[in-house]
């Protein structure tokens, strides 16, 4: 087939099985947009801001497991995409971002809309490529998809100068079936010796703890993890990124750990004697003060990226490999060992864990006249029967969603954990809905976050993605306000806005349905009404208690056993509330 560079790009995407391209046109990509116009297989989703394109592609990727694809122009198109690229990078999300570039003879001349996209994105991509010759285009794209989706996934940028897509230059195109890269070979199989050592240590544990993370979702290893936990009967906790990989409603699940994790999960971490880390990267929001981290535990760490291992916390038995393979191998190793877990020790460990759980650390005031954000999430869970895809923005609402919506399936909880990008939730929800057209998709957000990518309401109308926006409107940048309350004597410096838009009118002007909910008694009915509108985007503006805080909380420099607890939770001794 004789094709131009622009046509090769589109034909390649089709051959690669790409359904959607999230993008925004401009001078440097006009040849590509023209090739796009002349076909119907690859659907283009026109966003309203390039940041929205990257988050939508990212949401699509997180919910479907397929790579998200983005197409933006040079200069400001590329720079607007950077926040979304960095967001995907920190959470290891597979994405291919195609940026237009000025023509090769102009590169380096400060040409119109020229930026060094390769240089700007280098620190926040898994890899990037500049294509200088149309003959290299197809193979480079193949490499980009391969690198983005294998090993530890991540975003890959392909920068394509305008002359490379020139419609006047046609060359022979054939879809590259295979890819050869001598410098890139992710390890999948765990080392057998390490696997055996890990199996022995796991079976000898008296107070075990499984700490699972986003790697389980990325490895699609939920079934293997669930089997692993069930056969051992060990307790499991998860990071923010791993929620849903193990069923949250199961009794073995202790809830999220870390800064806003549960009392039982964090105390369990502190007291465990063997820690089994599965696809989690010992982030500082999880470890608290590293000197106080799991003081009594020997640690096993399974991760596909060697650089995640012993980066923040030294571990005793590292296993580099894919979780799916490694968990299967450990299970096989159990069968060869005669040893069984010590059931007496385990029973007394569970007794202790249940004592911690009985404190009900997530308890909140249910008799308030004000809408409690936690209550909205609980009702959201009920109304959607726990089956919704939930995206979120960043702040208190994000933590409430993580704590009060128990996900039983992976790929349903879609949030920016590593970068913590406000503005992520709405475009991500649009991407999720495109990937799962019939599903309930909710975007849990706050009145500050939603305004960072509010323009995507327009995209939601154009593509009829009936996402439901759950705005927990506390008239504060609540997470910032909470820190100012705790650490700055309640000096609320710039953490509220004097003017907020009328979100109902705003939603209506974008062609959607708007609702304002001001009383706890109206919460459930509003949610039911909204979710019954299967083909409409609905913006629910919940006016919530503006003073609510997220508990438990581990503040800087503290260990897992030193949490701030909610006033409502059931401590025997009131002093226990401030374990610090």
């Amino acid at each position: 087939m004789q094709l131009s560079g622009g046509e090769i790009l589109i034909q390649f995407l089709k051959d690669e099985g790409v359904e959607f391209v999230f993008g925004y046109p401009g001078g440097a990509v006009l040849h590509i947009y023209d090739a796009l116009f002349r076909q119907e297989d690859v659907k283009h989703i026109l966003v309203r801001h390039e940041q929205g394109a990257t988050h939508a592609a990212d949401g699509y990727a997180r919910a479907t497991g397929k790579p998200g694809v983005v197409l933006v122009t040079s200069g400001p198109g590329a720079t607007n995409a950077v926040t979304g690229i960095a967001t995907a990078h920190l959470d290891s999300i597979p994405m291919v971002v195609i940026t237009g570039q000025v023509s090769t003879p102009l590169i380096g001349s400060d040409a119109f809309q020229e930026v060094d996209a390769i240089g700007i994105t280098r620190p926040c991509v898994k890899h990037n490529f500049l294509v200088k010759d149309v003959k290299d285009l197809a193979t480079t794209l193949k490499k980009a998809f391969y690198v983005a989706t294998t090993g530890r996934p991540g975003p890959v940028v392909v920068d394509i100068p305008k002359d490379v897509t020139d419609p006047g230059i046609k060359i022979e195109y054939e879809y590259p079936q295979t890819v050869a890269m001598r410098s890139y070979h992710p390890t999948v199989k765990g080392h057998p010796g390490q696997v055996k050592k890990a199996a022995e240590l796991i079976l000898s544990a008296r107070r075990p703890m499984i700490y699972s993370g986003g790697g389980v979702v990325l490895s699609r290893a939920s079934a293997e993890l669930t089997d692993f936990v069930r056969q051992l009967g060990y307790p499991i906790t998860s990071t923010l990124m791993g929620l849903g990989a193990y069923p949250s409603t199961d009794q073995k699940f202790l809830g999220m750990l870390g800064m806003h994790g549960t009392y039982e999960a964090n105390m369990g971490m502190h007291e465990c004697d063997v820690l089994i880390a599965v696809g989690a990267r010992f982030d500082d929001r999880v470890t608290g003060d590293t000197r106080k981290f799991c003081p009594n535990a020997r640690i096993i760490h399974i991760d596909i990226d060697p650089s995640s291992i012993s980066k923040n916390i030294r571990v005793d038995i590292p296993i580099v490999g894919d979780i799916k393979d490694v968990l299967n191998d450990i299970t096989a190793a159990f069968k060869e060992l005669k040893q069984k877990p010590d059931s007496e020790a385990l029973a007394s460990w569970w007794k202790q864990l249940e004592r911690w759980r009985s404190k009900q650390c997530l308890k909140y005031d249910r008799n308030s006249d004000l809408i409690k954000p936690q209550y909205v999430i609980e009702k959201l869970y009920e109304v959607t029967k726990g089956e919704a895809f939930v995206t979120s923005d960043v702040g208190q609402h994000q933590m409430f969603a993580a704590q009060f919506y128990p996900f039983d399936k992976p790929n349903r909880w879609i949030n920016s954990g590593g970068l913590g990008t406000m503005g992520f939730g709405l475009p991500a929800a649009i991407g999720v809905q495109l990937g799962h057209p019939g599903a309930d998709v909710a975007c849990v957000t706050g009145e500050a976050s939603i305004q960072m990518c509010i323009q995507e309401l327009s995209t939601a109308l154009q593509y009829r993605t009936p996402v439901k926006v759950v705005n927990l409107n506390n008239r504060y940048m609540g997470m910032v306000r909470q820190w100012q309350e705790f650490f700055y004597d309640s000096r609320y410096s710039q953490s509220y806005m004097d003017t907020l838009p009328d979100f109902i009118k705003l939603a209506e002007s974008y062609g959607h349905v708007g609702m304002r909910i001001e009383k706890p008694a109206d919460v459930e009915a509003a949610l039911r009404e909204a979710f019954a509108m299967k083909d409409r985007t609905v913006f629910m503006d919940f006016i919530t208690d503006r003073t609510e805080n997220v508990y438990p909380m581990i503040v800087a420099g503290k260990g897992h056993n030193e949490m701030h607890l909610a006033p409502e939770c059931l401590m025997d001794n009131p002093d226990d509330r401030e374990l610090a």
Partner: protein
């Protein structure tokens, strides 16, 4: 304990490759004492030698992070085993008058260096060896003589049959 490490890297000979390494070191706050790079006998590969300083943990992270770069084909911390380290220095010295000229020649002999360029009032000297040896030479000649020095940064290779190859 902070130790000096010499890391040899084989990488794709691509235009952006060097900036990926330099960017990695600055972004993660790793220290670089020197860095040299040039193509190998296989023109598609470059060999880089990086000298860095750090604790066991930091150097472990450095090698892992370097290995993670998609352009890096292979690497070795050659200071893990016995190895040979060499650096090249070119040094231009003011050489006016017989006594200065003979003094410099004496130094050149002692250090087994070579004079590679001569003018009426200068000598340019070439010297290879370990960094310490080059330092010693600089110290030995009168600072008043030195007009210009240029050093390549350290390169190195393992002893014996061990080799870094694709």
């Amino acid at each position: 304990m902070s130790m000096r490490h010499i890391i040899s890297v084989l990488m794709e000979n691509e235009s952006g490759a060097l900036s990926r390494v330099a960017g990695l070191f600055s972004a993660r706050g790793y220290n670089i004492e020197s860095l040299t790079v040039a193509p190998t006998e296989d023109g598609s590969l470059s060999r880089m030698t990086l000298v860095t300083q750090g604790s066991e943990e930091i150097v472990e992270q450095i090698t892992k992070q370097l290995n993670k770069l998609v352009d890096v084909v292979k690497l070795a911390d050659i200071s893990d085993g016995t190895h040979i380290e060499r650096e090249l220095m070119l040094i231009k010295l003011r050489a006016q008058g017989d006594s200065a000229r003979s003094e410099i020649k004496r130094m050149v002999d002692i250090f087994r260096a070579r004079v590679i360029d001569v003018s009426d009032d200068t000598f340019t000297v070439e010297l290879t060896g370990s960094g310490d040896k080059l330092d010693a030479f600089i110290k030995a000649v009168d600072t008043g003589f030195i007009m210009e020095t240029v050093r390549s940064g350290a390169t190195g290779i393992s002893r014996g049959s061990k080799s870094l190859q694709v």
